[in-house]
């Protein structure tokens, strides 16, 4: 009988305002999303937020209207004073002596002191969203009976429905049952039969990631943009503007493409594409792009612009092409490499016995290698496939550069050197250049305008400085001065440029580029027998394959599978195994990585925990305590010989569900005090790195320090505040890490990944301070260990900076042990 009841409930034609999740359709409980015009109820069902809030958060929509027959009639919720409509910042304040309340935004309207004179009581401001639902006097919460009778939609189903809506806005709950929606892609394997199977598994995963990336980029259009115009050094027009922060998933990077469109009526319609040349940083939240063409740009207009994100398929196309080539082209890699990469272990490990190892195991102008680095070098030179594991600070870049030098000396042929990120490529390029080899840094065309320490090695700049090509230079000059060439000249220019590029690339000893950069058509004709990939644990397998299929007979993967892996945004693809690097899989297959074991970065005290926990205690210290003690800096370390501590902050700010405590003002103010103390004692801002988990917290901290810190704003500006991921591969003298409150439900998210914790703990050279709440963190096994480590060292402290005392706080029991 009950079932029948339920069926009747669904088959009945529901009104427009019925909740798109559960079907509840009492007008008093109904709220419409103003962005997608779907209705939702204010009941939670079996989730921890009401359905409307579930929708707003998952779809990243922020504005709502109420029903005409609701508790509050037919109204768009907006601030009474400034008309802002984001419900996440709306709330209300009461009048002092009357039964009147007014709808106001938290900032700036409710924060005005003048309100008090108008008989309002701004201290009593309360948000419209409480405990992840709208206030019940505004939108009725359906009763228990109503909710039980409605469709029992789960959080998983809600997720899927929201995903479906991205493709088909009118999809309904029933479409969830449609075949295909739920299909999970095939999991990656440890071993593959052949290159075809390999392609058949990775191809669809790359496609999933590409689709996800495309959808994400294309949903980021922003309007009402005000533009500031400027002219770059190369006479190109640049546009600067501020984008609203819509989504933490979306990271804008140098070289990304944005399209600017003019919608006003002071100029005829215009749109132009440009490359990002500036992203939000400590010096300002502005984004800058350099336009591709100067023609018809409405530089006399300032507002009414729209910004679209331009999705480019290039990197995904290159990965797919590499997978295809690996499958069908037997000259893409040597037979040995082919079988080894596929995991055919019956192939014996090959050692190049004919190789004469050099007597001098080093390279000109680079530091002499230590023992473990020398072994790594020999190991790599003697094998067609080798893994070199470089824990933090163990001289991975110098070792790689020396290997490259010796490879060139040995083979005489050119070596291809890649890494997943441009920063890593630049670092390695710089070192290899020092050895005196002929190096070309190949950049994506979209990044040619971006300056780097090795700009002078970039192919496009080397061409500019070629001595014996007067005609090309003249044309180039003409192009730069006038912006545009005649079509005949353009043709000639391109031909000459191509020739010059070819000559330079063929003459190079070493070509350096990113992994996907290796798919550049300019390299298509070249063959590389020796390929070294640095930071290879940060690349997905298909990404690694892009350079490998250029003819590899010898592959050297440098990396550290105990540090962060590749970023895969599509959860489906990530779950299916795309986020496992080739390095990692080869380790699992039993290829032993050769580990560098002497670390030169951290104060020995700081290296202790990471060494024991992540590297089986194998890290030795190449530096002594005295080398890593800051001279002339007085700082109240709780233990003078141990420049580290855990600064206990309590979670009093955790106002249930309001979410505002997420910013953790207490931690921000602790971080500011620590930073100020360091700066006051003579530390330079550039020496300090502040690690915070989320983009929101980064922006808050930057702002907080610059406006609340007692010292000159400029000092705080020079400080680097970023996520763990942004610090990977780099170091700072001092690290302050703000863990940010994590509530009971949420777990500790980003910090529960052991590899991320390892990276966070190993960035500092002289000292590290972790600010956080041990009660919450200790629930996680790994953190529990770390906290006990700090406690044993008597560096788990609380209280004011000038009077730090050992904290007696009891830890929670760990829920489960990761790792």
């Amino acid at each position: 009988e009950e079932e029948e009841d339920e069926n009747a409930f669904y088959t009945k034609e529901l009104p427009e305002w019925a909740c798109r999740y559960c079907g509840i359709h009492d007008p008093a409980s109904a709220v419409m999303c103003n962005v997608c015009h779907k209705w939702f109820c204010n009941g939670r069902g079996n989730t921890s937020g009401s359905h409307i809030i579930n929708h707003l958060v998952r779809a990243k929509h922020k504005e709502v209207s109420l029903h005409k027959d609701g508790l509050v009639r037919d109204t768009v919720l907006e601030c009474y004073a400034c008309a802002v409509k984001n419900v996440f910042v709306l709330g209300f304040i009461p009048a002092k002596a009357e039964s009147v309340v007014v709808l106001l935004c938290r900032q700036p309207c409710a924060a005005q002191s003048s309100l008090r004179d108008m008989n309002w009581d701004p201290e009593q401001w309360k948000p419209l969203i409480n405990d992840r639902a709208l206030l019940p006097w505004l939108v009725r919460v359906p009763s228990e009976a109503e909710q039980l009778r409605a469709r029992q939609i789960t959080a998983q189903q809600i997720n899927k429905l929201e995903e479906l809506w991205k493709e088909n806005a009118s999809a309904t709950f029933d479409d969830l049952e449609r075949p295909g929606v739920d299909e999970e892609p095939q999991q990656v394997c440890l071993r593959y039969e052949d290159g075809f199977q390999y392609q058949n598994i990775f191809g669809p995963l790359v496609k999933l990631e590409a689709d996800y990336d495309k959808k994400l980029k294309e949903s980021q259009t922003q309007d009402k943009i005000e533009v500031r115009w400027d002219i770059g050094l190369n006479k190109k027009i640049c546009a600067y503007f501020t984008l609203a922060k819509t989504d933490g998933d979306m990271r804008l990077m140098h070289g990304d493409e944005l399209r600017l469109r003019y919608l006003g009526d002071l100029h005829k319609p215009w749109s132009g594409v440009g490359h990002v040349i500036k992203i939000p940083d400590n010096f300002g939240e502005e984004v800058g792009i350099e336009l591709k063409s100067n023609v018809g740009v409405p530089t006399d207009c300032r507002d009414k612009f729209v910004v679209d994100f331009v999705w480019k398929s290039t990197s995904f196309d290159r990965m797919q092409a590499a997978l295809r080539k690996f499958a069908v082209d037997d000259s893409s890699v040597s037979p040995y490499i082919y079988h080894r990469l596929l995991g055919h272990v019956e192939i014996d490990e090959l050692i190049f016995r004919h190789i004469h190892l050099p007597k001098q195991l080093s390279a000109p102008n680079l530091p002499t290698l230590n023992n473990s680095q020398q072994y790594a070098l020999k190991h790599a030179l003697q094998r067609p496939l080798s893994l070199i594991q470089g824990p933090p600070g163990t001289g991975k870049t110098v070792t790689s550069a020396t290997i490259v030098y010796q490879l060139v000396k040995q083979t005489g042929g050119s070596v291809l050197v890649c890494a997943p990120s441009n920063t890593a490529v630049d670092q390695l390029t710089e070192k290899i250049h020092k050895t005196g080899l002929k190096v070309v840094r190949l950049c994506a065309k979209s990044r040619e305008a971006i300056d780097s320490p090795v700009s002078f090695l970039a192919l496009h700049n080397q061409i500019r400085n070629l001595e014996d090509n007067g005609e090309l230079q003249k044309l180039q000059q003409l192009k730069e001065e006038t912006g545009e060439l005649s079509s005949a000249d353009e043709k000639r220019y391109r031909m000459l440029k191509k020739q010059a590029e070819k000559t330079l690339l063929e003459a190079a000893d070493v070509i350096c580029c990113t992994c996907v950069g290796a798919g550049d058509p300019r390299l298509a004709r070249l063959k590389f027998h020796s390929i070294l990939i640095d930071e290879s644990m940060q690349a997905t397998e298909p990404e690694c394959m892009v350079p490998v299929v250029l003819g590899a007979k010898q592959v050297i993967l440098v990396g550290d599978h105990c540090q962060l892996g590749p970023v895969v945004m599509c959860k489906k693809a990530s779950r299916a195994g795309l986020s496992q690097s080739l390095f990692e899989r080869l380790v699992v297959l039993g290829i032993r990585p050769f580990r560098l074991t002497v670390q030169y970065r951290m104060h020995p005290q700081l290296a202790q925990f990471p060494s024991n926990f992540f590297y089986e205690g194998s890290l030795q210290n190449g530096v002594a305590d005295a080398d890593r003690t800051m001279k002339g800096v007085s700082f109240p370390w709780p233990q003078a010989d141990k420049p580290q501590f855990f600064y206990v902050t309590s979670g009093q700010e955790e106002i249930a569900g309001s979410g505002t405590s997420y910013l953790n003002r207490t931690e921000a103010s602790s971080v500011e005090k620590l930073v100020t103390r360091f700066l006051n004692s003579g530390v330079k801002p550039e020496q300090i790195g502040v690690i915070t988990p989320y983009e929101g917290q980064r922006a808050y901290l930057v702002q907080y320090m610059q406006y609340q810190g007692p010292l000159n704003q400029k000092l705080y500006q020079r400080l680097e505040v970023a996520s763990v991921d942004a610090f990977q591969g780099r170091e700072k003298d001092l690290i302050i890490m703000s863990c940010v409150r994590s509530n009971e439900h949420q777990g500790i998210g980003f910090l529960s990944d052991p590899r991320r914790l390892n990276v966070a703990l190993t960035r500092a050279r002289y000292g590290i301070i972790i600010v956080g709440n041990p009660k919450v963190l200790s629930k996680q096994g790994l953190w529990n260990h770390l906290l006990h480590h700090f406690k044993e060292k008597k560096v788990l402290v609380e209280g004011p900076l000038n009077n730090l005392k050992e904290s007696m706080m009891q830890f929670s029991k760990p829920k489960r042990l990761v790792n």
């Binding site: 921890s48 509050v72 910042v89 309207c109 922060k245």
Partner: protein, 121 residues
């Protein structure tokens, strides 16, 4: 105890099911809240925007004693409510809605305390 849980409107969450998707939702909620607040952190009010005095014709209806409010707001239902005027806007138009606040809400309690204090004077 369960009884009490279902009593307050906010707590109708009968079959809460804990799962990864729900946890993700909670962190995404926190992030959205934090980002929204941050986005407004440096906003400054435009002059003249903040003249939000209580309109006179509302004043006469809204200025009642707590007891008066209570008697007119209470219906036969178990839960007594108090009528408040809720000022909102729609485009350039101001709107006045009557809303029912639970009698045990902080808002109502504060109003009563204030009145009692005034009376005592």
């Amino acid at each position: 105890e369960e009884e009490q849980l279902l009593d307050g409107d906010m707590n109708v969450n009968i079959n809460h099911v804990q799962c990864e998707e729900d946890n993700d939702f909670m962190s995404a909620f926190d992030r959205m809240m934090a980002d929204s607040i941050l986005e407004r952190a440096s906003a400054v009010p435009r002059p003249g925007q903040l003249d939000i005095s209580v309109p006179v014709h509302i004043r006469s209806t809204a200025k009642k004693t707590y007891d008066q409010l209570l008697s007119e707001g209470t219906k036969e239902e178990a839960k007594p409510v108090v009528n408040f005027v809720f000022l909102t806007r729609s485009g350039n138009k101001q709107q006045y809605n009557s809303v029912e606040m639970p009698v045990d809400s902080e808002l109502v309690t504060k109003l009563r305390t204030r009145e009692e204090a005034e009376r005592a004077e």
